[in-house]
Subunit: 652 residues, 2 copies
Amino acid sequence: MKTQSQIKQTSFHPTRGFIYNYQKLVKDTVIPYQYEVLNDRAEDAPKSHVIQNFINAANVLRGKDKGDGFYGMVFQDSDAGKWLEAVAYSLSIFPDEKMEANADALIDLMAAAQDANGYLDTYFIIENQEKRWTNLLEAHELYCAGHLLEGACAYYEATGKRKFLDVMTKYVEHIYDVFINEKKEGYPGHPEIELALLKLYELTGNEHALALAEHFINVRGVDPFYYEKEVKSRDWIVWGSDATNHRYQQSHEPVRDFKEATGHAVRAVYLYTAMAHLASRTNDAELLAACKRLWKNITECQMYITGGIGSTVHGEAFSVNYDLPNDTAYAETCASIGLMFFASKMLENEIDGKYGDVMEQAFYNTVLAGMELDGKRFFYVNPLESIPGIAEETATRKHDLTRRPGWYACACCPPNAARLISSFGKYAYGENASTAFCHMFAAGTVDFENGLHVECSTEYPYDFTVNYEVTGHNTLAIRIPAWSKNTTIRINGLACTLPLEKGYLYLPVEGKASVTIELDSTPRIMYPSAKVPALTGYGCVMRGPLVYCFEGVDNDNDVLSLKLRNDAPITVLEEGSMLPSMVAKHRISDAKLKEQLCGATKLRVPATRITVSEALYSDEAPTSVNCDAIAIPYYTWCNREKSQMRVWLPLH
Amino acid sequence: MKTQSQIKQTSFHPTRGFIYNYQKLVKDTVIPYQYEVLNDRAEDAPKSHVIQNFINAANVLRGKDKGDGFYGMVFQDSDAGKWLEAVAYSLSIFPDEKMEANADALIDLMAAAQDANGYLDTYFIIENQEKRWTNLLEAHELYCAGHLLEGACAYYEATGKRKFLDVMTKYVEHIYDVFINEKKEGYPGHPEIELALLKLYELTGNEHALALAEHFINVRGVDPFYYEKEVKSRDWIVWGSDATNHRYQQSHEPVRDFKEATGHAVRAVYLYTAMAHLASRTNDAELLAACKRLWKNITECQMYITGGIGSTVHGEAFSVNYDLPNDTAYAETCASIGLMFFASKMLENEIDGKYGDVMEQAFYNTVLAGMELDGKRFFYVNPLESIPGIAEETATRKHDLTRRPGWYACACCPPNAARLISSFGKYAYGENASTAFCHMFAAGTVDFENGLHVECSTEYPYDFTVNYEVTGHNTLAIRIPAWSKNTTIRINGLACTLPLEKGYLYLPVEGKASVTIELDSTPRIMYPSAKVPALTGYGCVMRGPLVYCFEGVDNDNDVLSLKLRNDAPITVLEEGSMLPSMVAKHRISDAKLKEQLCGATKLRVPATRITVSEALYSDEAPTSVNCDAIAIPYYTWCNREKSQMRVWLPLH
């Protein structure tokens, strides 16, 4: 079985194009804005108090007054970890002295807030010393530790500075003491530290980190009643979460027995990511088999076409197979980010194009939809239908907002999107000793450790030609997306027919090669399985990895009376569209460019529009006239005035 | 404007046919079973304690021990009122000494449980004496009083016995003292007593009852903050209901300003019923205008095609216009019963066929669907789609059960259905001095007070011929349903063309006449307005007043892959179907008859069945083959083994 090991972030340098634009946006807008939030200086954001929490914790440790105490969610510290991680990735692409100085200052603060024994969690240091490790179900200590640890690994990788890594390694030792040496029972309420510990192990070879990750994965669900016992053993709660719902807690059985994805979607995919990572490092066939079952269940029974997962707001969770409502969808941005993590780690177990297909599906649709085109507003929830007047207004759809808010009190998604976008190269490229893998298309320079040097240029996802100028002696493997039904491959200018192996094209490179892939740019109508009740009789439109949607603002303010025709071709509208490389110089400040969806290519889709009857029900069939509907990429929805939005339309 | 006054129940005597069968079922099965429940002798029902509560309350009043105290919901007494009301209606059709003796005994118990000042509510008499009238928001005192009063009126009408009526008249005087003489602020948390007081006024001319009803209607919403003040003024709660949601509490504005139906659906239509009744008695044009607005809003923007209302489980409430999801529907049985009440009282303001159309829509679909064909199990919630594996399983659909339960702890619907069915004649027929109205079709003998005598025979809703043999001197008005596009009218055997006036046929009768109406029996496909997001691209099937649905058990256990064709006629399947008059002798005991849906006429509906793809999403259009789908009346769903059910199918 072909597998990869992970390539270092520093080896990918974006040049220009779609990914570059987004990484630049994160550097110029998202990261600076988030820093203002962490410092409580952002005007339109709820108070964060993240940095003040570290200051207050440090004061408590030095015997001083706790100031205004702890404020925020119990997992408030994690925002600092995610911000530092995003900064780290960004610095490796776009050096920035001021940003790095801010990061160093925050790291100094964190170091000062670390207890002598290594413990570091401001919620417990400031006000709840004696409660440490007594509420794994809700208190997110291990979750926060995980995010800080991810930040520390990334910051060391990007800057070579050890301070944050040393702080977190000390904390890991403390956790190791508690759970391994002192044999404290239990496992993380919100999985996250497992995947972070494995990152630390990859980076430094820390065997305690590996052992601790393995421990948390192995003990999970062996005693499904752990949380219930924990609730009984303590006299405090955070929210009073239901400890008896074992499937929701992903503790209903040992992880190697998992058959389907259950419970909180983000927790699920973070856990599965660690399981897949561990399986690849320990050649644990049973664990890998569980991961494959979970992958199959998610992608074949529980995933929106946008790559969104976790269809219900109740617990931000997976529902049951085929329960994928468009209007009440949860489909949290973070869950799709976690799905990308999971896919990426599955690639370390087996090279198969299906993982990259889903990474793209999640990234280009749900992850990007989570952020306004100007990088200033964010969606947590990503519905596939939004009808103003119903969405957001009704009790079942309070979560389905019709505008992206500027910030959230529970702000997991914005910094998560920032770190994912900034580290896109980690997911796009991978390698092992003999092969360099291109899992996703991202223009830039890639230096593989196995010796291949690649210059990739493309205007993907708005142009379907990808060129690789390769030097070195090794195999280059390029994923050809499953949706590309007609792909032309040119090697040194010559079109050639080559077999794919599980979705990958394998090209031995001897010295120098020019490889050009021309992917299928034909828009296509997608049909759901009739197993999905919410979608029967419907179709939607995709082009390349992009799911398209219909907004009222382009369609006479009424998308509900539109039906999709599949008897005529869809037209790609070049007018107003712009290649990604042209967007960067306008971006952010140019409100008009946002109004033009940053030049995103629209489609003219054959449709019919039916008469809208005033009667609620009628025995007269509505008449319909052919019309053209205008579709825009789903990720660009809700960037203009508020209007109806639908991904799926009834088929004519 | 043509209007009616209410006909007395005793003047309608069902003979045989559909309504007779149901009234017999209620008498033979539902009422006796409910009596066992009230006495805590029904094996498969949760403890009711209703009768024991009255015993315990009587003991408390006599200074004895309270026994096992009060048990049940705060509104537990109302079950006794509804049961007695159903008994009363039933006795007027089917005299039954034993049933009447049981009722008399219960009335004796209730009389013993009445406080010296007239107060009668076991929750407060047994355990919470000092809390009376302090929690109008939640404690349902006025609601229980209303149901007992309705029972008392019906029992007096049916039996001529005054005891219950005297008890309740005394209670009404006490309430009058509290709210009128002592000027206690506030209005009912759950409207109900308003319509009951108006019934008392109609029956006995009690002016205090009229004044009290008018008072509660007039003060409602004038101070929208009443409930909030009430919450602050007391130190106890029932559930801790949100007093700040004025729209939900139907107290956001004075009722004459109401623009659309809001809040708890049952409360809403009970209130609107009383408003319509009062408007007809006081010629209150402003109040009537509000009722018309509410009627229009409900029936044109917030009603399922089954006559179900209140689309959301959150608060059992109206949602917003056009938010009518099939799968998460609430559509409580009681709300459709209340909608019939409202329609019936609108007819006392203006004769218009639209009210009868909706009464039938609600009755023949949602109200009847609320009860299993054998009268032993009941639905509270009536979804229009039920997919086992999703329905009932997911957090959003815990309320959408896939089997009717035997009884509920909150048992409002079963006795409500029993009293509605038993008093069907009250809704089917009405009159004023010059005209006898036939609003709905029900076989039997009707003696109008204005002198007309009518013998109606019909096998409606399974046969579409209705015959009236009329004697007397007055006008007979027959509603011709709006769905009947081709109606033949024969007078004394001669087909004639007569104009309709707002959906009614007006026939002067001089001495004797034979009138035969042949309604349109053609099954029809119904189309939703494109304003309803949940229904775009869908169609459903109706025949007469019956909405049809598709169950897996008739359709290869898969209704999700079915699409509806409208290019070929729907066939009425006579095989296995049975005229309503033939059903009665088999009914109840014959399990096989239930399996055959009591002979309900099925339809063979032109459809296509698409291939079900294993892939969740595919760019290959599914192939489809023409097929026949079998449809059954919606009210008969879920009487066989558990399977998928859909009312609406995608249109091919």
